[in-house]
C-alpha cells in the first residue's frame, strides 16, 4: 500500500532531515512511526501525503509515485496533521461537505458517514457551529471525521491522540482497527509508546533522520517493553 524508497530530504545543505529511508506498509497494517522530537517523523509524513516536495528517492501509494501522479495518490490518502488548523471561517458541517466535494463522495455515503462518525465522536450537536469556536480536541475530531468520510485506503496520522479525550481516543483506536480489517493501511507517528505497542502490528523507529529499527512489533521490541527498546536505540552514542 505504501512504499518509501531511498527517501531523503534536507532543509539545509549540510544536514539531512531524513536520510535514505526505506519502508513498506501493507494493506491491513497499523504501522507505528516512532522517534524523538526533530527525528524526521513529520517530514516523512508530509512527504507521503504530498504536502512536502522532495528530490531524493520516491514514495509509492498503491504502486503510484506521489511525485509523478500526486492526485491519484492523494485520492487514496487521508491525512491528519499533529495540529489540525482547519478553516476557521467555515462551520464544521461546511468543512466536511467541502472535503466530500473534493473527494467526490456521493451524497448518500457522505451523509451516512458524517452522521456515523460525528455521532461516534459526539460532535453532531456542534457541526453547525463555526470552527473558530471549536476547542483543540473538537478540531482534532473534525479532522478525523473529514479523513474518514471518503473511505481512505491509506490513513496517515501525525500524533493523532494528542488533544483527544479518553472516549475519543478509544473510538479512534476502534475505527483504526476496523479500517485495517477492511484492507486499508494506517501509518501514524506517536510519542505514546504504550499505544503503539498495543495497537501496531509493525513499528519503525527513526533517529536523526535515519531508520534504526523496523519490523513487526514483536521483532522490534523482543522481550523488552517498547519504551526500553526506544530509549536504548535513541540514546546518544558516546
Amino acid at each position: 500500500m505504501l512504499s518509501i524508497r531511498n527517501f531523503s530530504k534536507s532543509y539545509s545543505r549540510d544536514k539531512k532531515a531524513v536520510d535514505n529511508l526505506n519502508l513498506e506498509v501493507a494493506g491491513g497494517d497499523i504501522f507505528g512511526f516512532i522517534g524523538h522530537n526533530g527525528a524526521g517523523k513529520t517530514t516523512t509524513i508530509r512527504a507521503i501525503v504530498g504536502v512536502l516536495d522532495f528530490e531524493e528517492g520516491d514514495i509509492l501509494v498503491d504502486g503510484i509515485s506521489i511525485k509523478k501522479d500526486p492526485l491519484a495518490c492523494k485520492k487514496a490518502i487521508a491525512y491528519i496533521p499533529d495540529n489540525p488548523d482547519l478553516y476557521a471561517h467555515l462551520t464544521g458541517i461546511a468543512y466536511l461537505n467541502f472535503i466530500g466535494d473534493i473527494f467526490e463522495v456521493n451524497k448518500f455515503d457522505r451523509e451516512t458517514l458524517i452522521e456515523k462518525y460525528a455521532d461516534a465522536f459526539s460532535l453532531t450537536d456542534n457541526l453547525g457551529d463555526s470552527i473558530a469556536s471549536y476547542s483543540h480536541g473538537m478540531k482534532q475530531k473534525l479532522a478525523i471525521i473529514a479523513a474518514l468520510i471518503h473511505r481512505p485506503r491509506l490513513l496517515v496520522l501525525d500524533e493523532p491522540f494528542v488533544g483527544l479525550d479518553p472516549k475519543a481516543s478509544h473510538t479512534l483506536k476502534a475505527i483504526m482497527a476496523d479500517l485495517c480489517k477492511g484492507g486499508s493501511a494506517i501509518f501514524f507517528s506517536t510519542h505514546v509508546l504504550e499505544v503503539a505497542e498495543k495497537l501496531c502490528n509493525k513499528i519503525a523507529i527513526i533517529k536523526g533522520g535515519k531508520l534504526v529499527a523496523c519490523g513487526s512489533t514483536e521483532e522490534v521490541k523482543g522481550d523488552h517493553s517498547l519504551e526500553d527498546v526506544f530509549l536504548e536505540l535513541i540514546a546518544d552514542e558516546k
Partner: protein
Amino acid sequence: MSKVFRLVSIQIGAVLTDMLSIGNSRNKKSKATGYGGLALFIVLMSGVSLMYCSMIASGLKMFNSLELLPVLVMAATSLVSLVTTIFKVKGTIFGFRDYDMVMSLPVSTAGMVASRVILLYAVNMVFTAIIMIPAMLVYGAVAKPGVIYVLISIITLFFIPLVPIVLASVLGTIVAYAASRFRYTNLFHILFSIVMFLGYLFLSMNMGDAGQEFADMSRALTEQVNSTYPLAPLYSKAVIHYDIVAMLMFIGISLLAFLLYTLVIGKCFKWLNSKMLTGSTRTKFKMGELKARSPFFAVYWKEMKRFFSTPIYVLNTGFGVILLTLGALALLFVTSPLADLLNLHFKIEEILSMPQFSGMLGSFGPLFVSFFIMMSSTTMASISLEGKNLWILKSLPVSTKTIFHAKIAVNLAILSPILLDIVIIGFVLNYDLIQGLIIILTTIVCSIFVSVYGLLVNLKFPNFDWTTETTVVKQSAAALVCVLTGMGIVGLQYLLIYLIPNTSLAYFIYIGLMAIVDCILYHKLMVYGTSRFREF
C-alpha cells in the same frame, strides 16, 4: 515599564516581518532587501507627499491662504489615520490571535494595554511623519516663518495621531463588539463600516456645500477644515500664530483623550476580549440534506466564504467595486425623472448637462473603470490567507490549476458588478457602439490582469505566518506591489490617451497590449506559479 517596551518591540518586529513577508526567511540578504524596500518606500512616499504639499502650497498662495497648508495637511492626515485605524483595532487592541499566550505572561493588564496602544501610536506616528514633515518643510521654505514655527511644529507633531487613534479605537471597538453579538458577524461588520464611511462622505460633502456660500475662498476652506476636524483651529493658532495657549490646549486635549481612553480600555480589556473571542454558537445541529459540488466549485465556494468572512479583505479589495457601483447608481438616479419628481438637484447633473464635461467623462470613463478594477485584486492576498490552513489544499486531491482557477474566479465574481456599472455609465453618458465596446473590453482585460497578476505576486511574496489578516491584506509586500503596479498601468493608460490624439485608437492599443500581457501572465502562472506553489 521595560516589559512594556519589550512587548512593543516584539510586536513591531512582528508587524515588520508580516509587512515585508520575511517570516520564513533565514537569509540575511532577503531581510536586508525587505528593510531596504521599506526604507525606499518611506522615502518615495515622503517624496510624493512633498510633491503634493508643494502643489497645494502654490495653489493656496494664489488665494493668499498659504497659512492654511499646515492645518489642511494635519486635518487630512488625522482623517486618514482615523479611517485606517478603525480597521486595525480588531486584531491589535481586541481579538488578536495570540491573546491567550500574551495574557499568560507575567505582565499587568495595564502594561499589556499600554503595549498595544503604543503599537497603534507607533504605526500612526510613522504615517503622520511621512505626511507632515514634508508639509512642514514646504511651508517653512515658502512662508519662511522663523524658529518658533519649527519648534511648535516639531512639538505638536508627536500629538497629532493621538485623537484620531482614540476616535478610531472607540468606533472600531463599537463596530467589532456589535458585530460579535450578531450571528452574521462579518456581514454586520462590513455593512456597518460601509455605512459609516458613506455617512462621513455624505456629511463632509454637505459641509462642502455650505462652504460654497462663502465668497471668500480662504474663509470657505478654513470653515471646511475646522468643521471636518474640531482640533484644527487650535493647531492652526499654535503653528501659524504661535499661540502658546492654543498649543498647550491642543497637546492637553490630545493627551487627556488618549489617557482617558487607555484607562477605560484598561478597565474593560479582558471583558471585551473574552466577549469578542467567544463566537456565538447555534442551537443543536441536526443533520439535513447536503449539497454536493464539483471540486472546482468546492474550492471556489470555500474562497468566497473566506472573502466574505474577513471584513478587512472585503473593505480593502472590494471597496472600489462598491464605490463604482454606488457611483453608477447615483449617476442613474440623478439623471432619472424620479430625481426631478423629488426636486433633487445635484451638482453632477449640472456637470453632465455641459457638453464638454459630458464628453470628457465619456472619454475618461474606461480610465476610471480601469482604476477601480486595479484597486480590486482579491488574489494578491488569497495565497497568504491560506496561512496555517495551507496543508489542507496541499494534501487534497485537487490540482494546483484548479486551485488557481477558483481563486481567479472569485476575483472575477467580485468584479462582476462592474459589468452592470458600465452598462449604466454607457447608458447615462450616451456611449456610442465604439465607446461601449471600449469600456466592455477594458473591463475584461483589466479584470483578468488584476486577478492573474495578483495571484502571481502573492506566489512570489507569500506570508503564511501572519497573526492578523490586516497585515496580509493591507500591509504586505504583495499588496503594495499590486497597488503600485495597478497605479502604474492606469498611468500608462492615461499617457496613451494623452499622447495619441485619437482616444478610441489609444484605448484599443491599450486593450490589445493588456490582452497580450494577460496571456503572458496566465502562461507564467501555469508554469512558474505551479512549481512555486509546490515549494510551500
